[in-house]
């Protein structure tokens, strides 16, 4: 159900968190859509239900989803995308400031940006 690749060295629950947040901001998951059950996701991705549970808990804590006990978890309604965007912006500013402080050059960050957004943006 979830088209999410787990890879890299970040904690699995964090990758899953980011993956779901990404699906929401891309519009592949809309307000009030039901998320697949914790056990479902666990089985499909081959990870432990507790790990999925943790990601869901963090998503709820961040206001991106809401859970109704014994019913399921749903994408939150009010301006979810904005919440995600704001959170991402905050992290970005913090990471950019740290990068600047540690002597990383402006040019280096632009290279990463072009790689991610695609250089076509020229």
């Amino acid at each position: 159900m979830f088209n999410i690749r787990l890879e890299g060295k970040l904690p699995v629950y964090e990758q899953l968190y980011n993956g779901i947040a990404s699906l929401i901001s891309k519009g592949e998951l809309s307000s009030d859509d039901k998320l697949p059950a914790v056990r479902e996701v666990a089985k499909q991705l081959g990870i432990n239900p507790n790990t999925v549970q943790k990601s869901y808990a963090l998503l709820e804590q961040a206001g991106l989803i809401y859970s109704i006990p014994a019913k399921g978890s749903y994408v939150a309604s009010e301006g979810v995308k904005d919440i995600i965007k704001k959170e991402a912006l905050k992290n970005l500013e913090s990471a950019l400031a740290s990068a600047y402080n540690s002597g990383i050059e402006r040019a280096e960050t632009i290279i990463i940006i072009d790689r991610i957004w695609g250089a076509e943006a020229k």
Copy 2:
């Protein structure tokens, strides 16, 4: 002794961590340099010694400084700057990826970059 401004909503111990890491990567603190005592920093910045202690503990854990009880804390020796830079790069890539995923435009990130690095870099 430390020229560090504490502001914003990040935890104080985290700001202090970043501030000291920044001084190291800027070369204002070099390998072998002694850091001011925990209580010294606390008094100067008007914060609690425990908070400073926490920052120092995190810096030691990250390999940026080492502490000898009853002696003091010192900037670590082996490639400290590189450690800081690598850590910052990893955070940056992660934050940029999240930003992209959440629909932030390339132009928006450039604006932040210009604000931090200074637009003169043109």
Copy 3:
């Protein structure tokens, strides 16, 4: 709730860390189990909440538990027992090597082992 004795000269937060890790590897605490609240443990053991907080933070850092603010702390999911065992084995090998280097006799270590594991194991 926790059946843990605090004694000896190791820091309290370390004894508590070891005690909880031990409960997990003995199976008295299983994946997904909720740990008693920080304040709860503090009251029961007669120690300060901050000290418990420190132990919980170290356990989380070691990947043995995970904490969700305003929810609680839970035993981590993936192979917690293995993590504990591996860590213990590493420490053991290191300590035994140091013991050998410092001239401790084989017989002396066996005496300690018999005291801990119980000589009945014969």
Copy 4:
């Protein structure tokens, strides 16, 4: 001068600490023997002088050596071997207790012991 191999994943300063402590307990370094200068050791082992400095500081703190500024560092006189042995014993007991707690079998520890002390001890 020092016949010490640095390898494995322990911090270098810790390996150096253990190596020197081992030389002392084996009698290859005796009371009041002069240790090679920090820079000497650093050059010979290809590591940073600060790292050596840290090991020396820890050895002094542990009472194994004493340093006379501008003269050098010397192996301590009173019962150095006993100090090392006591410290090793303390670590050993702690590690064995953790091993027991985490479900490691008595037999497993004996295997390691035989490997280190040599099975000839039969």
